[in-house]
Symmetry: C2
Subunit: 326 residues, 2 copies
């Protein structure tokens, strides 16, 4: 039996985690031979609900689940954690300004960054799902100066998957026939889903769809998909978000496919002129031992560059709003 890996999840009694936890311990993330220790964090008032979720986890009699810790203390939750899903975040309430949302979340993620810095594994991979994901990643990372910035990423895999799904449907192919999709920038409505490098069964995507569809249909559909789900389902995306978290963490831990990449909001190294130190979604290749590299040699059209800069601008503004916590 392999040594158990330690996986921490925040917002563990929430909707996304309710879809995520059961899939992690069933073996979907690291396979059927890898035992898992779960360390679950919730705010104090949600601990009883979390206890109910843990009862259900136990009721699954999962062979891989070695131990579950429930806590409201980030330093306990992140102790020796190898993989961390920062799912919990304050939702936007009616009438709340974006700045207030940024601030109230920033306080949470600053605290969690400090705790990670103190107690997590030095090779931890921290995936931030809680919105605003990119800026929350920045806050977490900048409060964890002893960890490499490469230990942190924000989730844009849901957008990546949504973009693949839209193109697959348009072209009448299966999702696995699509390669080299890119989401640039912020996990928000300014994100830029870019088809210029995507292929469909090896053919250039742009040779199969017309510009008008891309501009008027594809890009806005992917950008506004979250809202469309809320409208249809009456609740925000949870199962598909959890699925993307598994996809992104799996790719980040075990590597991307040979001729493909994933989109991840990682610490910018200045590639494509994006300001260094912002957490910006780039195409990222990951080696089998979990080392990620920004794909930095793509030719960028003027059309794309404008959109890439627009979403960069939004990230700079978000950063300004939380400057005092960095």
């Amino acid at each position: 039996m392999k040594t158990p890996i330690v996986i921490a999840v925040t917002g563990a009694a929430g909707q996304i985690s309710y879809s995520l936890l059961f899939r992690i311990v069933s073996g979907e993330l690291f396979g059927l031979e890898q035992p898992v220790i779960l360390r679950l964090l919730e705010v104090t008032p949600a601990l009883e609900k979390l206890h109910g979720v843990v009862m259900e986890l136990n009721d699954c009699a999962y062979p891989l689940l070695q131990k579950v810790i429930q806590t409201d203390d980030p330093k306990i939750a992140f102790k020796d954690a190898d993989y961390v899903f920062l799912v919990g975040a304050k939702p936007r309430k009616t009438g709340m300004k974006r700045k207030d949302l940024l601030e109230s979340n920033a306080v949470i993620f600053a605290e969690q960054g400090k705790a990670l810095n103190e107690v997590a594994s030095r090779h931890v991979k921290v995936l931030v799902t809680g919105n605003p994901a990119n800026t929350n990643t920045l806050i977490t990372q900048s409060n964890a100066p002893d960890l490499s910035p490469r230990c942190f990423a924000g989730m844009t895999m849901l957008d990546h998957n949504r973009a693949i799904s839209q193109l697959a449907e348009k072209c009448g192919v299966r999702s696995k026939d699509i390669k080299n999709m890119i989401i640039w920038g912020n996990h928000s409505e300014t994100q830029y889903p870019d088809l210029h490098h995507a292929t469909v069964k090896g053919q250039e995507a742009f040779s199969l769809v017309d510009d008008r569809w891309v501009v008027e249909d594809f890009i806005p559909t992917v950008q506004h998909r979250g809202g469309a789900i809320i409208e249809a389902r009456g609740l925000s995306s949870a199962a598909s978000a959890a699925n993307a978290a598994i996809d992104q963490m799996r790719a980040w831990a075990l590597g991307t496919e040979d001729n493909d990449w994933v989109s991840m909001a990682v610490f910018s190294d200045g590639s494509y002129g994006i300001e260094k130190g912002l957490f910006y979604s780039f195409p990222v290749r990951v080696s089998a031992d979990g080392e990620g590299t920004i794909v930095n040699d793509l030719k960028i059209e003027e059309f794309s560059l404008e959109r890439m800069q627009e979403t960069e601008q939004e990230l700079k503004e978000e950063r300004l709003a939380v400057q005092h916590l960095l």
Copy 2:
């Protein structure tokens, strides 16, 4: 690429299905090489919500998901279905009598039985999760006279897993160290979780725990676990129920482990004196080609027999309440 299998799910926009569907199409049920066609049934008012769920399924860009059908017509939902999860059922409302609950569900399952009889694969496996599960299975089966009664089973795998989990915790072992657990009878509070044949790392369970714990703790905890989850979580078991549905269908389709069995509510053949034709939870062994057989040579103590008959009696009473629909 293998031929896709057709999986139908009812109550597809509900909570259990929200945990179930994403795990089915990620490959947890039939593995990473088996494409799947999903046929999803909901009541008309829930079709929009179902559409939202399907949007999320698409947003996962699952390589195995070939096609999704959404409908409120059982004859469309069950067309050529190989595997059917009957999840949807009317929940009990405050002040509702058990008889009224039985009746209102009976009408639904009678209609679904007729549709299965007409359009499903002749080798279909129909797993009933919607409560009261055993009697709903009986109604469904008796409305599908052209299908073998062996095509139908009610779910007691959740109880089976809960019992394993309780015993594992008590003995300080992992769930996979426990074999030969049994749930007898009805998926209700009269069920009898039986430790007399269970082993813990090869040792008889009864040699490791005392009688008092079994009677005063183990049996009532398993029987009333559903209520305890509702109390802690504020909602009924969904993820653990979905997990059990996958476990039971996988065992039923692909076989049980060599020295083990699962608990399933199947058509009684009179084993252990249980009335023929009732859907009663027995220990069942399944061959690799999906042929289930009741384990019928176990020695039964007086203590067990009384409890087995008590839960049988409840099933007879439930049957009486829906007699006109059989």
